[in-house]
Each structure stands twice: as C-alpha cells, then as structure tokens.
Symmetry: C2
Subunit: 506 residues, 2 copies
C-alpha cells in the first residue's frame, strides 16, 4: 500500500476490521489524520457492516500523504500508512466551489456553469432503469443531477425502493439506529458513476414526500444520518449538499433551528467544504440565504426574472432549480411547454443566474424523468444543451446582468426599461442579449468606439447562430427617439420573431 | 322646434347668433338650464366661430324637456324652447358607467365589456386614411378607441395635422386664446362616427409627444381647453375622459395638482359624469386611483397578472390599456408577438379586468395602426374578438378572480397556488379557467354537488369551443395528491398544449 498512487481529487480508502458486536453505528468512533507536508486533515470513518470500517479521503494536494487512525476501539486505533497523490486524471478538475461571487469553478480554476436536471428518486428504481438513466445522462449534456438520498412517496411514485437506508425487521419496522450498508453502497455506486460522467451530484438530504418515516426522524437520528453521509460520500468530488427539497414543507417536524444545525454540521465535518444549499417550496418561504452556511442560493420559483433581485439580496450564486418542468401532468409545476422552459432558462442564465431542468410527461408505467429517470421525451433539453454551449463559449467568469453592469448597450435613462423587457448579460466586452417575447425587426445599440464588433444572431429554439446584418449609423434614424452623438450606434436587422438572442463580441 | 323629438341619449343642440367681436372664447359666458319634470340640468355653451354659439344636451330622460339660456351677453340670454325626448334608437343604451364595482354597464343596464384598441392620432391623418380607419373599425370587433385630441409628435409620426386646435398666424405661432372651430368640428365628426358604430371614444386630453406646445400650455389655457371640450363633446354619449397618455412624463410642466384640478373640473362641469381616468407611463408612477375623481383605473403595465392586486388596491374597474402592442418596431412596448398579446389579454380578462389592443407593425409609409389607424396587419385582433364574444356570452355582471371568489374549483389550501399559475374567473356558477403556458393532459376540479355541468374546451388561438371529455371520479386517481370526499370531483381530458381555457356552466 505504500506504493499506491491516487490521482488528485480521486478517492483513497482505508479499510479496517473491527468489532461487529453491540451497535457499531452508535458505539464506535473512528477518524484518521491525513498529512501532506504541512497540510493536515481529519476525516471521520464509518461502519460498513460485517465488521468492516472505512475511512475515505479525496486528496486535493499532489505529493506524499501519510495517515494515522484514531479510535477508542483498540482494533481500529493507530493504523498508519502512506500513499502518493499524483496528477489529476484527464478532465478531472476537482470539486466545484463558488467563484467570482455569483458563479462557480472547479478547484483547479476551470469554470463550471451548472446546467442540471432532476431525477429525485432515480437510485430507487432498480438496475435496468438506473442503467438506462445513466446512459441517457451520457448523451444529453447535463452536468448536475438533483437526487434524493431517500426514496419518494408521491403521485407517480408508489413503488417500494430496492434498498432501505435503515435495517428493517420482518414487519417492515425500521431500526433507525442501524444503517443499511447495502443502501449506501448502492448510492455511492451511483454517485461514483455520475462522477465518472462529469456530473455533479446535488444530493438532497431530506424531503417531505415520504411514507417510511425518513422525513420525521428525530434530531439525533437526523444528525447521525447526516454525519454518516458525510463520512461515506464527502470524498466523492462531485458531491453537493442540498439540505432539502422543500424544507418549508417539513417545518412542522423539522424546525428552522434543525436546518441551521445541519448547515453547521456540514461546515464542521465535511473536510472539503462541498457546496451547501437549501431549497424551498413556497415562493414566500425563502430560507435566509445570507446565512454563512449557505454557499449558493437554490430557489424554486416560476417568476424567473427575479434572479436579478436575488443576486442583489443574497450576493451569492443563484440556481433556480425549479422554474417548473416541461411536461403535461396535472400539476402546474410539471406542465409547462418546452418553449416556456427554454424561454425561462434564457431569462435566468442571461441575467447571470443558473437554472435546472426537469421533465414530467405522463407515462403508461409512471416513469417520469423528474423522479425516476429513464429517457427524455421532451424538446427543451436540446435547447438547454445549446445554451450551455453558448455560455461555455463566453469568456470565463460568468455573466453580470446588463442592468447591473457599468456599461450598457442602451443609453442611460432607458437601459432599465429595456432590461425589464429583454434580458442582457455582460462579461467584459462580450454581451448576450435575449429578446424574450419581443420581436423587433431592428435593434439599435450603443457600443464603445474604436473597436470591431462581431454580432451573432441566435435562434434559441432552432439552435442556430448566424452573423447578424449590422450597419453603423451616422445619423439618428427616423424611427428612433434616442440617438447618442457620443457613442457609435449600430443598427441590427432582425427577422421579427420572438425568442431570439444577440451575441456581441469584439 | 317645439315639435322636435330627440331620441334618448341622442344629441339636442341650440344654436344662437351672438357677438363675434372681441374674443368670444374669453369674453362670453353662456349656459342653458334644461328641465324635464323635476329634473334640472345646467349645460355650458360654447362659441363655434363666425358669431354662432351652441349649447348641446344629451337627454337621458324620456319626456318633455324645456330650456332657457342664460348669458351676460344680451343676444344670448333668455332664449327658451322645448323638445320631446323619445325612446332610444335601436342598439342605443346610453353612456357607459361603472357597475358592480369592477365592471361597466350602459346607462340602461346593458352590460358593457371594454375591448378597445388604440389609434392615438387617427383624426389627424386626412380624409382618406381616417375613412379607412372607420371602415376597419366596422369589422374588427373593438368597442372602444383610445384617441388623442392633440396631434402626435413621435417616431413614425412626423406629419403635420390637417387641423390645429388653436388659431395660428402665418408664421405658425399659436394664439392659445382662440380655439379653431374647424378642428373641433372635425373631432366631433369622428367621435360621432364612432358613436354610430357603437364604439366608445376614450378621449385623451393631454399627452407629452408634442412639438406644437400643446403639452406645455399654462394652467389657465389647460383649464379653458378642458371646459371647451366638455361643452362641445360631453353630449356625445360615447365619450370617456382620459386625462392623459402618460401623465407622469409631463409632471415637469403639469404638476400633480393640475391633474387633480382637471378631475375636479370634469366632476363639476360634465353634466353626464362620463367616465374619467388617467394613464401613466412608468410602472412605479401610478396615479392614486383611489381618488374620488377617478371612475376606473387605466394602467399601462406588462406584468398583467397584477390585475388581481390592483382590483384589491383600488376597488374600481381595471383597464390595462397598454399591456404592450403586437408588432415589430424597435421599442419593446411595440414588439410583442400576437400570441403574447392574446395570452396577456386572457390573463387580464379572466382575472376580472379589461385590456386594450394596439398594433405596431413597421410600414413603408409609417402608417402604424396604434397611432394613425388604417388597416390591421396582425393576428391578435381576431382572438380578442373571440374572447369578447366569450365574455359577452357569460352571465352579465363581469368576472371575479377565482382567487378572490368564495367558491373555487380547487380545494382550499392549493387554490392560491393554482391561481398563481392558471387564471380563473367566476360569475355565479359559471367558471372560466385559462391554463396559460401550462399544458396538462388532465385537470381535476371540484364542483358543488347535485348539478349538471357543461364543460367546454376553448383553444384561445385556434378560436374553437368544443365540449370537453369529462368523467366524474369516485375515487382518488393514482396521480393525484388531493381528493375531496365532500365535493364531486371531475376529471377533464385535455390535449396537452398551452393556451387552452375551460368554461364550466350549469
């Protein structure tokens, strides 16, 4: 084991044999101290059943690492060893963190722009469907997946899970003091497979849609469960902690202080400080995302233009993960058209936020992507992939809403008006303007002088990018009431249909 | 003249010869007292040029009327006469007033639902185009027209008017103390023609888009102009007074007190108390529509769902006359798609408000309907006519937003959520539900028991009305999380596309 080399941001694991009598989940404490040069890290271990204990590390520094285990249980105490952390594998950039206040990047600085989808209960659907979901994910271009640890009880979700997170007796009664390692091994397998696909796992710790009792566990059980998850999963570089789907629907049995406590446990015990968020159900039940435990703002909201305001309020990245789903089910949140989804995505992303996808088309066997995975049936995902490509082709660092930008392509005084209709985002000299439901045949823009600009016309639905027909105006056009003598004025010809965008680059 | 019979809500006119020397507009005061039984009415006269003075009455009571004129000018004083007011002509129902708090009706109680359009400067375009506009209005189904008294200076509006409201000298200098009777006769002719078409004239008294000085007249001139208009036009039963297009863009030279004063003059001097409103430009510059002079709320706003909130705030009918126009010009307010216009109309009207149409398609000769009239080029007007027919087929009295209605087709607790997505309006047992951008394939509704209901499926774009496929559920469907044992539950099949509506009637 001394020769072992682990790639940076890979997973190193210590396995130890120890006691299996009593209740190891309650009785045994185990951690390891890892050292790499002057750098030290304490990492908690966990019991994996059948007398096996494990400690996992995601090494984030290259070089020689040593470790020593510590436990009040003699068999687990005082084990030491070493390994080498080498260069990261190709296309591995580490965990995702906040960068540039409103945006994200991998640990190595590579920009990361979340374009995620949602399969809440996909890990509870059995091998065939789960493999199909993974296969779909290889092709559709999402780089984040919202998924619950616990199974889901809800319309279209009546099946029992394959595995249960706690041991159950013959009568189906849970023993909340005994985890079921098979459940967690399966979860880890799926998280690991997402990691190999370059997909961040936005792991939802608690949700209210439950018939097994997982939503109503007591405080001690909740906290033990959270610590167990951290010990098992934190070493997966693609883990994000999403405290809840709709925390506000659980306040009756999980008061606000409990959620604050969860954030604190994550702050204290996740050695890598993976991203942390909490998601609400009702638009007026927003958690106080200014609290320091919250790394980024996860929002469920259909009024997507508010992203500009949320950026101002929270000063953190905004991810509107439920702007409602493409589909045709009976619930409004799951029955907007593909066109509407794409429209909302553009409004959010051009305004410097991020958005999440979901799909809820009726299915004869109740296999709805939003919860169970499977295959996609809709039309929005392709356009979201196209948008992702557009954003990845922009200068790195993310977009600032044009209305909050010191420069604007519209003259001061009318800029605010225009940006309440269109959506505009800037990054340096690059502008992305989404015309939303507006269909002008011309657009007049003001740009700093002495530069050559390239204007591209984007059809957000047809997914085309074409050079725009542009002329520089020397005098005010007859149809205009605003003309600047100070800045060069460009007139762009447009085809006069909605849902177009313009990209302007030097 | 003693034998003269005037139809109810027609126009009776007294013409008198008087002095033409000095400045009759400033020097001469004239009014008549009209009596019909115990009913008395004082009506101001006006100078019509060339030594002719006129006093106009719209008799709103059937029976024998007498009058006597009063003036400090001896030639105009003490004329008396009589006439008979007979039954109203066919299809004449009198002026429109507020009824049922949020709605309108003609004086005879016939419901009036405003479905108006906008041709700001149509009376300044010359005979050929003005006649074409009138011809268009005979066929397209609008029953209100927003129009300015003054000509318009603005992009696409560079032409001089045919007539000027004040006398001008050879150098084009206005004499604001002398009205130009030809201007007002022409205006009256057009208002009268609209009256014959059954179209209410929503007459805009002031607007900021001006190069002649009409927007910046002093207080005395403003008030004299307003009184002159009242004297000339109030006897046209189809007149509505709209104090301004975008009063907030004129506050620099017409402070708030001036607008309050205009309301007071109308209250005091319009014998028929025609409808009075004032229209703003910026969304945050709403006039205080709770003031008693305001009969109904005229609003310019693209966030059309706010109609529900405005009803609560103002307790008056809401007319969103600028929810943005169908067209393709360079300004966002004039470049939304026909689909978006129709969508916004449904959101407003189903929520118990009213909306206004406008059309701004680029034209080689700058003839844009919104300002100059002519012909319609768009696609929204047909769907608005279809919606008008739907509303006129409802029980009279207008719609109440479902969210404010004591009964709801959705169970309590989730109703608010549904109505923030769909739009619903009720009138007694009749419900109109607009599904907006949502496309469920099924909808489950709760209705009071022991009634037979008729469910119609409406395609707001295709303009079709078809019986919906409905079944009454006896048990909760598997896809539902809400089921009421108390109220009968109906499941409606839907085609799964956006912009549909449902009508439910007993």
């Amino acid at each position: 084991m001394s020769d072992q080399t682990i790639e940076q941001w890979g997973l190193f694991e210590i396995a130890l044999n120890g006691p299996s009598d009593g209740n190891p989940y309650l009785d045994v404490r185990l951690h390891a101290e890892f050292r790499c040069g002057d750098f030290r890290l304490e990492v908690a271990g966990f019991y994996d059943g059948e007398g096996v204990y494990r400690i996992r590390l995601m090494p984030d520094q290259m070089g020689a690492w040593q470790y020593t285990t510590h436990s009040s249980t003699p068999e687990l105490d005082g084990h030491s060893g070493q390994f080498t952390c080498g260069a990261a594998a190709e296309n591995v950039h580490g965990p995702v963190y906040v960068q540039n206040t409103f945006h994200f990047a991998y640990a190595d600085g590579t920009p990361y722009y979340p374009f995620g989808t949602t399969c809440y209960a996909w890990t509870h659907q059995g091998e065939v469907l789960e493999e199909q979901t993974l296969h779909t994910l290889t092709t559709v271009g999402f780089n984040k997946l919202r998924m619950c640890v616990f199974p889901k009880h809800y319309p279209f979700n009546h099946n029992e899970p394959v595995h249960y997170p706690f041991e159950r007796d013959a009568a189906g009664e849970h023993d909340f003091t005994h985890f079921n390692p098979a459940f967690f091994r399966h979860l880890e397998q799926r998280v690991g497979q997402l990691r190999e696909l370059g997909i961040e796992a936005d792991i939802i710790l608690f949700h209210p849609y439950d018939r097994w009792g997982y939503a109503r566990m007591d405080e001690a059980t909740d906290c033990r469960y959270l610590r167990y998850l951290i010990a098992r999963l934190a070493a997966y570089r693609n883990v994000w902690w999403s405290l809840a789907n709709e925390y506000d629907f659980m306040l009756e049995y999980k008061p606000l202080a409990r959620w604050d406590q969860f954030f604190q446990i994550l702050i204290d015990e996740d050695p890598y400080h993976h991203l942390r968020s909490i998601h609400q159900g009702m638009p007026d039940q927003m958690y106080d995302h200014t609290k320091p435990g919250v790394t980024h703002v996860c929002i469920q909201h259909s009024q997507v233009r508010q992203v500009v305001e949320w950026r101002r309020i929270y000063g953190k990245p905004i991810v509107n993960d439920e702007l409602e789903y493409e589909g045709n089910i009976i619930y409004p949140w799951g029955s907007i058209s593909a066109e509407e989804v794409v429209h909302r995505f553009w409004l959010v992303v051009v305004n410097g936020g991020y958005a999440g996808h979901g799909e809820t088309y009726m299915h004869p066997d109740d296999i709805l992507w939003w919860s169970k995975g499977g295959v996609l049936h809709g039309e929005s995902w392709k356009r979201i992939r196209f948008l992702r490509q557009m954003i990845e082709d922009m200068p790195s660092g993310g977009l600032t809403p044009a209305v909050d930008s010191p420069t604007s392509v519209f003259p001061s005084g009318v800029g605010k008006y225009y940006w309440s209709r269109y959506a505009g985002g800037c990054n340096g000299d690059t502008h992305l303007i989404y015309l939303a439901e507006y269909q002008p045949t011309r657009l007049t823009l003001w740009l700093p002088p002495d530069e050559d600009y390239q204007f591209d016309l984007i059809d957000t639905w047809a997914m085309t990018i074409m050079p725009a027909v542009v002329k520089r105006l020397e005098t005010a056009p007859s149809y205009s009431y605003a003309f600047s003598g100070d800045l060069p004025t460009y007139e762009i010809e447009l085809p006069g249909k909605p849902h177009l965008a313009l990209r302007i680059r030097k």
